[in-house]
Amino acid sequence: MANDPEQEPYVALRAKALESLLIEKGLLTAEAVDEHIREFEQDIGPLNGARVVARAWVDPGFKARLLQAGAAIGELGIPGGGNLVVVENTPAEHHLVVCTLCSCYPWAVLGLPPTWYKSFAYRSRAVIEPRAVLREFGLEIPDGVTIHVHDSSAEVRYMVLPERPAGSERLSEAALAALVTRDAMIGVAKVAMPDAAAVAAG
């Protein structure tokens, strides 16, 4: 993504000028802006999504309700699932989420998107060469596995329920949640056990 540091002072000045005018016109206050920024900073990012995934792995009833309707995240006290669709990765099917037109992303469960998700490279390529993109993320999807790409063109938001890693049978729900990454819930990574020895021991 273009990010010319030499442009930054000018764009920062423009933002400052706009804020000054909007305050003058009564459309916002500096305090309200600060309050929103505090909320962004407290954004727990993908932790909500990780809790959802771990619960789905240990509770088949919850998983069924979640795959039926994303609003099931409300059972964990997480709001904003009304427009959420959760898609499940299996040994035969792999799901990947993108927004080719802008940057739609499931904020309720994953927080603000990383810059790569909003990049021209990801937006242009995920729909036409997902296997090549995933390879760059270090994820090789075998030819026998179908890849379903979800291009978020409306207000529906998508989250991937990754496969539970082999060898994780004895882990608690909290320990499972700690394994789940943002990238796995976008579909560009799998969830792995912390080290291969644990898998062998399991």
């Binding site: 273009a2 000054s20 909007l22 009564g26 080719t100 037109l101 090549a132 993109v133 030819d143 179908t146």
Partner: protein, 221 residues
Amino acid sequence: MHGVHDLGGMHGFGPVAREENEPLFHAAWEARVCAFEEILCGDDRSFTLDAFRAGIERMAPANYLRASYYERWLASIESNLIHEGVLTNDELEARIDLLRRDPDAVPPPAVVAPPPAPRAQPPSPPAAAPSFMVGDAVMTRNVHPTGHTRLPRYARGKRGVIQRLHGAQTFPDTNAHGLGAHPQPLYTVQFPARELWGESAEPGQSVSLDLWESYLERAPN
């Protein structure tokens, strides 16, 4: 519109660059612009989310490609506020000049007038019942609207299958231009990658999109 924002399937942008331990924002102004959008954008606020997206899409293509993510947000917030009559370009330029000359300038106390009410949207008829069911074969229309649309170019005139029904939702193509919400049934439509990309498609792939009813027609058998 056939904008440069409609990126799906384009070539030439290179590998997906990632940043380890990326901060939430890369500069203080980005966080402020993000907050402006949260405060100003919404159905009963200064402009709708659809109008906000349309504002980004109206950027000249070279500017869109050159700008960073939050610069595009700032550009759309400015253009929407100017369009809504909340401020003028001259006011904005004058304020930029003032703050450039004197970063600590305190503008004269405002004549506090109540902010203009959001423009009333024309009324919309209630949405019709969905015409398609899960499993129905549909064709996307081969349309090329000059305004805002959420039917990407790569998926026009293509055959797919209805996968999910989502109920009636605001139609962005009208809502973005102040022409009303006109809710329509929304569907998830799945397309085989081969239908979209022909011989170039990777094996074993589908793409699904969430599409409004008026983007679709029944597929011939």
